[in-house]
Every structure is written in structure tokens, then in C-alpha cells.
Symmetry: C5
Amino acid sequence: MVEELSQAQYDTVYNFLSLVIASQLFTALFIVMSLRRVLPKYRAALIISATVCGIAAYHYFRIFDSFREAYVTDAVGGQGVYTLAEGVSFNVAYRYVDWLLTVPLLLLEAIAVLALARKTQTSLLVRLIPASALMIVLGYPGEISDDVTTKMIWGALSTIPFAYILYVLFVELGRILAGAPREIAVTVRNLRLLLLGTWGVYPIAYLFPVLGIEGSDAFVAREVGYSVADILAKALFALVIFRIARLKSAYDDP
Amino acid sequence: MVEELSQAQYDTVYNFLSLVIASQLFTALFIVMSLRRVLPKYRAALIISATVCGIAAYHYFRIFDSFREAYVTDAVGGQGVYTLAEGVSFNVAYRYVDWLLTVPLLLLEAIAVLALARKTQTSLLVRLIPASALMIVLGYPGEISDDVTTKMIWGALSTIPFAYILYVLFVELGRILAGAPREIAVTVRNLRLLLLGTWGVYPIAYLFPVLGIEGSDAFVAREVGYSVADILAKALFALVIFRIARLKSAYDDP
Amino acid sequence: MVEELSQAQYDTVYNFLSLVIASQLFTALFIVMSLRRVLPKYRAALIISATVCGIAAYHYFRIFDSFREAYVTDAVGGQGVYTLAEGVSFNVAYRYVDWLLTVPLLLLEAIAVLALARKTQTSLLVRLIPASALMIVLGYPGEISDDVTTKMIWGALSTIPFAYILYVLFVELGRILAGAPREIAVTVRNLRLLLLGTWGVYPIAYLFPVLGIEGSDAFVAREVGYSVADILAKALFALVIFRIARLKSAYDDP
Amino acid sequence: MVEELSQAQYDTVYNFLSLVIASQLFTALFIVMSLRRVLPKYRAALIISATVCGIAAYHYFRIFDSFREAYVTDAVGGQGVYTLAEGVSFNVAYRYVDWLLTVPLLLLEAIAVLALARKTQTSLLVRLIPASALMIVLGYPGEISDDVTTKMIWGALSTIPFAYILYVLFVELGRILAGAPREIAVTVRNLRLLLLGTWGVYPIAYLFPVLGIEGSDAFVAREVGYSVADILAKALFALVIFRIARLKSAYDDP
Amino acid sequence: MVEELSQAQYDTVYNFLSLVIASQLFTALFIVMSLRRVLPKYRAALIISATVCGIAAYHYFRIFDSFREAYVTDAVGGQGVYTLAEGVSFNVAYRYVDWLLTVPLLLLEAIAVLALARKTQTSLLVRLIPASALMIVLGYPGEISDDVTTKMIWGALSTIPFAYILYVLFVELGRILAGAPREIAVTVRNLRLLLLGTWGVYPIAYLFPVLGIEGSDAFVAREVGYSVADILAKALFALVIFRIARLKSAYDDP
Ligand SMILES: CC1=C(/C=C/C(C)=C/C=C/C(C)=C/C=O)C(C)(C)CCC1
Ligand SMILES: CC1=C(/C=C/C(C)=C/C=C/C(C)=C/C=O)C(C)(C)CCC1
Ligand SMILES: CC1=C(/C=C/C(C)=C/C=C/C(C)=C/C=O)C(C)(C)CCC1
Ligand SMILES: CC1=C(/C=C/C(C)=C/C=C/C(C)=C/C=O)C(C)(C)CCC1
Ligand SMILES: CC1=C(/C=C/C(C)=C/C=C/C(C)=C/C=O)C(C)(C)CCC1
Ligand code: NA
Ligand code: NA
Ligand code: NA
Ligand code: NA
Ligand code: NA
Ligand code: NA
Ligand code: NA
Ligand code: NA
Ligand code: NA
Ligand code: NA
């Protein structure tokens, strides 16, 4: 664990964590308030979105408190160097517990919104969900290790199921949708790109401490990276899903 | 009570407890948000589910705080051995208070979902609910004792009503449903297996400290065991009930 | 005030208080979630029930915290004798503030559910509600006194309005309902017995410290007694009212 | 500020503050739960009521905490004299901030419920609301001063807009309603008396410290007075408005 | 950062911050409770309003706590000079994080309420939203600097996008609406003036510490200025939007 943070570093992490709390909490509440503005058949996706953002808000409340307690200073006005406190640690596991719950829900949501045949849905989910769980479980030992090699090995292992998820979404799903109407094909393409663009931030953030050899800048970069990725992959994703549900509702029942 | 935990042990319990909070809380909220997505006649079961998960979330917030306060370290960054603090205990009773409220509700929910004749329902519940209360009350003295023999005796006593519950669900209920339509028979069979599979984890978790002669590994195994069992028996069970209610709603009113 | 509690005594009170929190809070939430499951005309009674249980939950959160802060130990793992802390007291008044708000509401609820003529209702309430307020106000000075004679005198004074309430409910209400249809008569009889059975626990719990001459066992018995009485008179009562409302709803609009 | 409170004085203020929290919070929740029990056109008044009680609950939570922190003792079991703590003050301003928000809302609510012509409404509100704001702003400097003369001067200044409000409500409104149907006239008369009866408590409570020359009894009397007044003027008023809305709803749509 | 505050200064900031919490929180709740009182097509604007006020309430809870912890005294009854505490800072960034989320939402809301053609809407938003984000990001370095020149430079840079926003709203929007019906033209004019009037307070508050050369009066003026501006630009704006939605609903569906 990083032992020292400058005030600017401390404040950066601190403010990003608070930003994530506000983003997730109010996206969840916004979606809940907006439930009735879409047709009943699109509400399942919205309820899942709200749940995902709610779970994230809960974990970021914990992460924020954990960070606050873990790094302390005795400088007047907090204007000094922050060091690790006694008796408490900055609990990195919250993120992984969060992902373990939210990643399968996000995949469920993405698949649900495509409105494929039930059989195709099930066939995709029974492969995507275990793969995503594996990806997260394999990433964790690398995350909490301070050793670069350990980090690399587990990161590489975790990348295998990640690649498999991308394969299923891009190759297999493509095949399934080969003959689909143009409109669905476009939605799929866009959602997939959004997923790739946002999920791809996580492994990059993971790599920062590997490259920076556990310096405090790398720590900050990782925390900011994960925070931004969580806003994009959960809150922004929820708003995109909401937008799609609104448009489809207006289309079905003008 | 266990007096010392390594950092890894402390973190394991800590993270599992937090996982249970998130699982129960958001399952409860998810079910509440989804209430209108099933027909009115299936809402009773969902409301009970949400209540059960809510009660569990409440108790896990308390258990989590109790655990955090009970084991402390003064190592920098929390990277050391955790020992029992002065003035506070890890309150094991929360689990039993929780079960006392939630186990009868779960039985009520399981019976309700079968939609038997009112008379049969009552006849089952007046036997199942007292038996379940007895099971929990008899387990408690063994749980809080550090003595293996005491643990064994109360555990054995608690197993009698447990066995009786299984007998009622598997033998008596079987007889009652002998002539029932296939569809109901299948639902009953599956729910029963789910119940057996998840409730069976509790006595196993109970036994860990008996086998491990109160070592700290046994303590961790018990806490993790109970946590996992509570996720399965409450949150997963709620989602299965929800699934059944959705399918039945779609079937009744397509 | 009791100055010392053994660990078992401390834990008993502690766990009963937590049990009451969970019971009241989730009964309130359960009733709120179930509002739409009864016909509009029965919702008033349910809303009052939920309010009563909510008020109780609020006060038990306070009582619980007050108790926790008031009795402390410095034994490792909390495995020792608990004594009164400096600077804080166990605030007995919360119960009386709670009753002052909830007892009139319970009487209102009980009368409302009988659906008598508006004039009869008013005539009953203008006598029952002031009497109940008097009962509680007169009980308080005895409750906070450590002197047996003082306790006896105020207890006796408080019993006068209590007896009057019972007289109104059993004798007067009987006369009013003399010619009522059998069905109403039965409901009234049962509700009255439930009220007697649950309200009767309070004066008994009040007497424990009188008999036990302020020993710590008497203190524990009183706390447990009030806790159990509050669960019965509020949460259980709410569920009975809910049951009646459900049955009547099914009967009116099958 | 009062520097010392006996235990009985401390407990009296403490318990009244907690009573106000429970009253306001649960009146607000009760009103929210009851919204659908009145016709849509009466909901505006109820929503304002609930908002007023909610705002009051918020401020009383703060006042309660402020009071608790401001007066401390080191007597065992809190059985001693309470004195001002170091570093914190009992923040009297919360009440005035609360009134600044709630008094205009109460006037709005009272006028709204009369269902006058829009023009008359506006004409009344543009005079009542600024007057009420002035009344509160002028009262504040007197409230926080320990000097009797200062208190008297600001109190007298604050009484001018107060008298003006009463003049508008009793004289002007009377003229406006001269030819109104009897039923409205009665409602107006009753609401006005209720307002006078409850609002009149505030200046009386304000005067206690003036008369008592800042003794601790005067402090207690003022706190209890404001607490009781707030229950009457907000929670009781909300319930009266609710009653009127219920009756009118039944009358309009039997 | 300002190092010393008199008690009056401390109390002024303290009470204004608490006032903002209550205003934002209860405006949000009021709007949510009032959702059904406007036609569905106007609910989007209300939901956004409620979200904006909710986000602000969240941040003001944090700002309030941050302020409370950052300035401390050891004077009895808090009647003394407040100085910066050790180990904590008054976190100015909360405001900017808040604005980053709420300013785009406010622009979205203002544009939405005008009900322009979708294409015009999009064309306005793609310019307004990035400009507003830029305005806030450029203001931040000046805000946290104690150096007057730095403050001036960043303030000037931030004013460029601010001016651009005003240009778009006043000049471009005017051109677009040239031929619009009178009614819309009036709404636009009023909303624009409200926006100018309230948003204009922010740069003025920003300037106080520049003029006052970082004295504590300037600090207080800035905090009070931002607080008042936030009440006007969010809570008052929400109520105006609500008023418009009510009137339009009554007009569309009398
Ligand atoms: C490939 C890879 C990773 C991928 C993580 C991902 C893809 C996480 C996605 C999380 C989401 C989408 C959360 C939102 O709820 C790890 C574990 C960092 C370890 C390094 C290798
Ligand atoms: C047989 C047995 C036990 C059984 C416990 C069970 C079966 C608990 C079920 C709890 C549930 C289902 C909770 C969910 O809400 C004990 C008490 C551990 C003691 C040892 C013997
Ligand atoms: C007769 C009597 C008492 C009666 C108390 C009762 C009857 C309380 C009922 C409370 C309820 C029903 C609360 C639920 O909300 C006291 C005050 C203990 C004092 C001793 C004499
Ligand atoms: C005349 C007068 C006063 C009047 C206060 C009033 C009338 C307050 C009403 C408050 C309400 C109704 C709050 C409920 O939300 C003060 C300021 C005490 C100062 C002394 C003179
Ligand atoms: C021009 C200017 C500024 C403008 C700020 C504004 C206009 C903020 C608006 C905030 C709102 C509307 C928040 C409500 O949610 C700054 C950043 C103070 C820096 C100095 C120059
Ligand atoms: Na810190
Ligand atoms: Na840790
Ligand atoms: Na700990
Ligand atoms: Na204990
Ligand atoms: Na304690
Ligand atoms: Na006390
Ligand atoms: Na105190
Ligand atoms: Na102060
Ligand atoms: Na402070
Ligand atoms: Na800081």
C-alpha cells in the first residue's frame, strides 16, 4: 500500500471518490423517478440500472470513508503530507465486491435490452456471467499485491475471461444477429462499443501501479481511473439505456 | 471468543460481511421496485421477500459494525494482527435475532407461493413455525459457548426440530401433493431442494468451531459460512420467488 | 438507576432492544408496502399502524443508543461487568414519550377498525384518549423514582385511568354493541382481549423493580417486559389489523 | 447563554426536543402516506404541510444534537449538574432558519385551503409573506442577546409585523369574506383562531428569558414553549388541514 | 485558506450552510411529491429539478461537515475565536464537483422547458454544456489559490465560456425564437433573466476574496454569496419551473 500522499494527491482522490458517490446515487434516484416514463416492458432494464448504480453508491460511500480514515495528517488545515494511519487500511476489496455484484447485472441488462429470443439470451448469459465472475476473482490477488510480477501474472490470467467476453459479444453475437433488422444491429453495435470503451478503462487503471512501480502517482492514477470507469460503465451506461427505453417507448406508443 | 485474527482473516470476514449487506439491501430494493411487474396476487410473496432481505440488511449493518469495533490493531495501515478490543464484544446474537424473525417469514413465503388450500396452509404453518423457532432458540446456547461438548449437545437438540421441518416438507407435503397437477409438483420439488441446499449450510457452518476446536480459522469459516448461507437462503431465494411470480404472471395474463 | 450489570444481563437487554428495533421498523415497512392490498376504506387503519410502529422504531433506536452509552466495561472483548458511564444516563423517558404518542393512536386505530357511527366514535375517543394520556403521565414519576413507595403511589394513580379505559372498552362498548351483528361483536371481543392481554404486560413490567427492590435482575426484567409488550401491542397488533383489513377487503370485493 | 442546568432541567429540554422530532417526522410521513386519501385538488395543501413538518424535523434533529453536545456533565450516570462544554455552542439560530422557511409556507397553506379567487390570494400573500419574514428577522437579534433591553426592543419591533399579519387575517380577510357562504366563513374563523392560539405561544416563550432575567428556568421555559408551539403550529395544524381536506373530499365525491 | 474566524463569522457561515441544506433537500422532496400534479410531458423537467436539488443537498451536507470540522475553538460554549483545526481542511472542491454535475442539468432543464424542435435543442445543448463545464473547470484553480493574480487570471479565463453561454442564450436563442408565438417569447425572456440574475451572483461571490485580499470577511462574504446563489439558481429555479409546469398543465387539460 502507498505510504504517503501529498496534499494535492490526497485531495484528488478524495474529490473523485465523492464525485462518484454523487453520480451513482443520483443516477439511481433519477432512474427510479423516471420508471413510469417508459413502457412497462422496458422497466426491467431500468430497475437493473438503478440497482447497479445503487450498489456502486453504497460501495463508494464505504471506499470514501475507508480512504479518509486510512490517510491522515496533523498539518494545520490539512495542508501537509498525508500518511497511513495506525489501525486502519484503505480497503481495496470494496471495488471487487462491487464488481462481483454489478458486472453480471450489467451484462444481464445489456442482453435484456437487445430483446433476443429467450433461448439465445440464456445461452449468452450462462457463458458471459461466469466468465465475468472469473475475470474479477482472478484480478483481485494482483490488485492487493505490491509485487509487480504477481500483479502481471494475475492481470494476465484475468485478461483471458475478459477477452472471452469480448469474443462472445463481438464475434458470436455478431453471428447471431447476422440477419437481424438494421435497427437492432445498430443498437447492438453502439452498446458494444460503449461497453468496450468503458470496460477497457479498468485494465488500464489496473496497470498504472505496475508501470509506476507502486509510486503514489500510480496509486492516484489508478483510483482516478477506476472512479472514471465506474461513472462511465454504470451511470453513463444507465442513462444511455434510459434514453433507448424512452425512444423505444415513444416509438411503440406515440 | 476468538482472541486473535491475522490481517487476511480479518479482511476475509470484513469483506464477506460487507458483501452480505450489499446483497440483502439491494435485493430488497430491487424486489420493491419490481412489485408492480407481477400480478397483485403474487405480491404478498414479494413483499415478504423484501421484508426478509431488509431485516437481514439491518442485522448485517450491526454485525459489520460490531465486528469492526471488536477486533482492532495498531499496525500502520492496518497491516498486522487484530486482537479483541477492550469494552466491546463481537455480538453473535444478532444472527439468532435475525433468524428468529426471518426463518418463520421464509417458511410463510414458501408455503404461500404454493397456493395450497387455506386449511392445509394453516396446518403446515402451525407446525413449521414453532419448530423453526425452537431450532433457533436451541442452537443459540451452543453458538455462544466455547465448550465443544456444550456446542455438540445444543447443536444436536437444535437438529431435532430441523429434522422435523424437513420431514414435514419432504414427507407430509409430498403426501398432500400426491394428486396435484404436475406443474405444482415440480415447483414444490425445486423449492424444497433449494431450501434443503441452502438451509443445510447453517448446521455445517455451526460445526466448524466444533471441529476446529475454536481456532481462528474455524471462526472465519463459520462467519463466511453463515454469510454465504444467508445470501443463498434470503437474497437468492427472493430472486427465485420473483422469477416464479414473473413467469406465473406472464402465464395468467399474457 | 441500576449501577452494575453482569455481561449476561447487559447482553440480554441489548439484544431485546435490537429485536424491538427490527420488529417495529420492518412491520412499519411491511404495512406500507401492503397498503394497496386492502381496499381504500381500510387504509386509514393501516397508515396509523405503520405510523405507530415507525414512532416506536425511532424511539427504540434512541433507547438502544442510550443503553449502549450508559453501561460500559473495560474488559477485553466486553467479557466483564458493565457499570454506569460518566456523563450519560440511560434515558427512561423515551418510553413515556413514545407511549404518549402511540397509545392514543392505537386507541384511534382500534375504534376506527370497528366502523361504528361517527357520533359513537367521537364519544368514545374523547374519553379514551385523555384517560390514556393521564395514565402515562401519572406513571412517569413512579418510573424514574428509585423509591418503592413513590413507585407504588404513582403506579396506583396511573392504574385508575387504566381501569377506566378497560371499563369503557369492556362495559360501555359492550352496551353500545348489544344489538350489533354477530360478526362485529366477535371482532370487538377479540380485539379487546388482544388489547387486554398485551397492555396488561406494561403494569406487570412496571412492578418488577418494585418487587425486586431495584436489583439489576428487576431492571433487566422490566426492560425485557416493556420490549416484549411493545412488540405485542404495536407490531403484532398491526399485523392483526392488517389481517382483518385483508379479510374484509376480500369479503367486500371478492 | 445559560451556563448551568440541573439534571432535571437538562432532561426536560432533552425530552421535549426528542418529542418534537418524533411528532414532526411522523406527521410528515403520515401526511405523505395519506396523500391519496384526499381528492387531487386538496393535495397541494397536504404536500406543503408535509414539507413544513419535514423541515421542522430536520431542524429539530440539529437542535437536539446541538443541545446534547453543548451541555455536559461528568457525573456517573449523568446524575449531576450540566455545564456548557468547550468548543461548541447551543445554536439558537436553527429555530429562526426553520421559521424563515416554514412560516411563509404555513401562510401559503392557510390561504390555499380557503380557495379564494386567485387575485385575492396573491394580494394577501404579497403582504403576509414579507411581513412574516420581517417578523422573524427582527426577532433574531433579541433572541441571541443576553441583554434585557436589547431583547425588549427587537421583540417590540418584531411584534409590529406580527400585529400586521393578525390585522390582515382578522380585519382585511373578514372584509373580503363578508358576503361568503356560511360554510367558508366558519372554516376561516376556526383556522384563524387556531393560528392565533398557536402562533401566540411564540412571543410568550420569547418573553420568558426577559422576565426570568436569563436564569436557567427561563431558558428551560423558553425551549419547552417553542417546542410545544412548534408541535401545535406545524404538526397539529397539518392534521387539522388533513381533516378539512378529508371532509371536503368526502363531500365533493361521496 | 482563512486561518481565523470570529464567532459571529463562524456562526454566519454555519447557519447559511444549514439553510442551504434544508432548502435544497425539501425543495427536492416537495418536487418529488408534486410530480403527479403536472401532466406527464412536464415531469422530465421536474425530475431533473429534483435531481439537481438532491445533488446540492448531498454536497451541502458534506460542505457543512467539512466546515464544522475545519474551524474549531476551545472557548466555553463556543464563544470565542475559531481557528483552523489540525488534520482537516475546509474542502472548497465540493462546490465545483457539485456545479460540474448540476450546471449542465440546469441548462438541460431550461432548454427542455422551452419545448423547441429536437434539432434546435441538440444544437444548443452541444454548445452550452461543454461551455459550462469549461467555465467551472477554469474557475477552480483560481478558487483554491490564495494569490490574487492567479485568482484574476483563472477568473478571467472562466468568464469567457460564461460570456459565451450568455451570448448563446440571449443572442442566438433570440434569433431562433424571432418568429415564435408571444407566449413562448415571454417565458424565454423571463427564464433568461432569472438565469442571468442568479448565475451572475457566482462570479461576484468569487471576486470577494480578490477584493478583500483573502481576509476573513471576504471568506464569509464568498460563502454566503455562493450559498444564496445556490438557493436561487437551484431551489428557486425549481419552484419556478414547477409553477410553469402547473400552469401549462392546467392550460392543456383544464
Ligand atoms: C481485464 C482485467 C481486469 C478487468 C476488469 C473489468 C473489465 C472490470 C469491469 C468492471 C465493471 C464494468 C464494473 C461496473 O459495474 C481487472 C480485474 C482490472 C484486472 C486486470 C485485467
Ligand atoms: C440445525 C442446526 C442449526 C440450523 C440453523 C438453520 C437451519 C438456520 C436457518 C436460517 C435461515 C434460513 C435464515 C434465513 O433467513 C443451528 C441453529 C445453526 C444450530 C446447529 C443445528
Ligand atoms: C397501568 C400502569 C401503567 C400502564 C401502562 C400501559 C397500559 C401502557 C401501554 C402502552 C402501550 C399500549 C404502548 C404501545 O404503543 C404504567 C404507565 C406502566 C404505570 C403503572 C400502572
Ligand atoms: C411576535 C414575536 C415573535 C413571533 C414569532 C412567531 C409568531 C413565530 C411563528 C413561528 C411559526 C408559526 C413557526 C412554525 O412553523 C418572535 C420572533 C418570537 C420575537 C418576539 C416577538
Ligand atoms: C464566471 C465565473 C464563474 C461562474 C460560475 C457560475 C456561473 C456558476 C454557476 C453555478 C450554478 C448555476 C450552479 C447551480 O447548480 C466562477 C466559476 C465562479 C469563476 C469566476 C468566473
Ligand atoms: Na484523512
Ligand atoms: Na483492513
Ligand atoms: Na477493527
Ligand atoms: Na456485548
Ligand atoms: Na456499552
Ligand atoms: Na440524561
Ligand atoms: Na450532553
Ligand atoms: Na456556534
Ligand atoms: Na467547528
Ligand atoms: Na483536504
